[in-house]
Symmetry: C2
Subunit: 164 residues, 2 copies
DNA sequence: TGGTCTTTTATGAAAATGCATGCTACTAAT
DNA sequence: ATTAGTAGCATGCATTTTCATAAAAGACCA
C-alpha cells in the first residue's frame, strides 16, 4: 500500500518520513510475533506458567524424549539457559531427566504426569487463541502464511550452530 | 532429534506426525523472526553493539526525541528495562536525556554524534541484509508480506498508543 | 592403545530483566 | 485551591540470562 512504490526524487516530500523500522522486515516480524504472543502470555500468566516453560512443554508435547540441546534449539534459547530452565522444571515436577542408553553424554527430557496435564490444558487454549487470531484477519490465508514462514525458517538452517 | 517418527497407524504415514509447534502460527512467527534476526546479530556482534542497543538506535534514527516509554514500546521492552538500557547508553555516550519543555515528567532521548555515527553504519548493513534475505526468497512479495505484518500489528493495538 | 578433536551438558560469576513500588508532575473535579 | 486520580520515569530486589569455560563421553586415527 502507498509509499515505497512512489519513485524517489520529488516524491520524498509527499511521503512523510517514516521511521526506518516501520518498513524493516526484521522489525515487522519481531513486532508481529511479539504482539500476538503477548496476547497468549495473558493466558499463561493466569495459569501460572512462565513463557519459556510453556515453550518447553509445547515442544515436548509433539516430540517426547528431546535432548537438552534439541530443546534449546526448538525454544530459541541457548543451551545453558535451557539447562537451568530444566533445573526449575524438574524442581516443579513438570519434567524429568533420563539418561540416553546409547550415549551417556545425552540427557533426554520427559514430561511428568503433571507436565502432561498442564500442557494439555494449554495446548487447548493455544489452539483456541490461534483460531481467534486468524478470525481477526480474514484476509490472511493461514496455510499460505505458515508455508511462507516455514520457508523462511528452513532456508536459513545452515547448520544449527553459531554462524562464524 | 531421533526417532519418534515411527508411525502409529498407517494413516500417520500419509500425514507425518508433526510437532504441535511446527504448525502453530505463534511459533512459526517467533522462529522466523528469530532466525532472520540472528543472522543480523552476527553483524552487531562484530560491531560490538548489543541487540537492544541497536533497536533503540534504529528507532531513534527515524524519530528523534522519543520518550522513554515510547522507546520501550517500539523496542518491545518494558519501561524499567528501557530506563536501565538508556542508563548504559548514556554511559557509553550513544544517547543523552533531555527534559521536555512542555511536560517535566517526560524525558526525551536524543542520539549523540557518536550514536549517529554508529547507527548510520548499522542502518546500511541492515538494509543490505534485508535485501539479501529477500533475495533468498524470490517467492516472497516483500511489500505484501510487510503489509500483512503491519496488519497483524495494527489490529492488535488495543493498548494505549498513539491513535495513529 | 593412546592421543586428539568433537559433542553434549553443566557451572559460576557478571549482566540484564521483571515486577512491584516510589516519586514527581500533570489533569480533572469540586 | 484541595483532593483525587493518572501518566511518566526511576529504583530495589529477586530472578533469569549470558558468556566463558569445565567436565565427561564419544569419534577418529595413527
Amino acid at each position: 500500500m502507498v509509499a515505497a512504490t512512489i519513485s524517489v526524487q520529488s516524491a520524498a516530500a509527499a511521503v512523510p518520513a517514516q521511521r526506518f523500522i516501520d518498513d524493516y522486515l526484521l522489525y515487522l516480524l519481531a513486532r508481529a510475533s511479539h504482539v500476538v504472543s503477548t496476547e497468549f502470555h495473558t493466558v499463561l500468566r493466569r495459569a501460572g506458567v512462565q513463557v519459556p516453560v510453556w515453550r518447553v512443554l509445547a515442544t515436548l508435547a509433539g516430540s517426547p524424549g528431546e535432548t537438552v540441546s534439541g530443546l534449546a534449539d526448538a525454544c530459541l534459547l541457548q543451551q545453558p539457559t535451557m539447562t537451568k530452565l530444566l533445573d526449575r522444571m524438574v524442581r516443579d515436577n513438570l519434567v524429568k531427566r533420563l539418561p540416553d542408553p546409547k550415549d551417556r553424554r545425552v540427557v533426554r527430557i520427559q514430561m511428568t504426569t503433571r507436565g502432561e496435564t498442564v500442557v494439555n490444558e494449554l495446548l487447548a487454549s493455544a489452539k483456541k487463541h490461534e483460531t481467534e487470531v486468524l478470525a481477526r484477519h480474514p484476509d490472511i490465508d493461514a496455510t499460505a502464511l505458515k508455508t511462507l514462514l516455514r520457508g523462511m525458517i528452513g532456508r536459513h538452517r545452515r547448520g544449527k550452530r553459531l554462524p562464524g
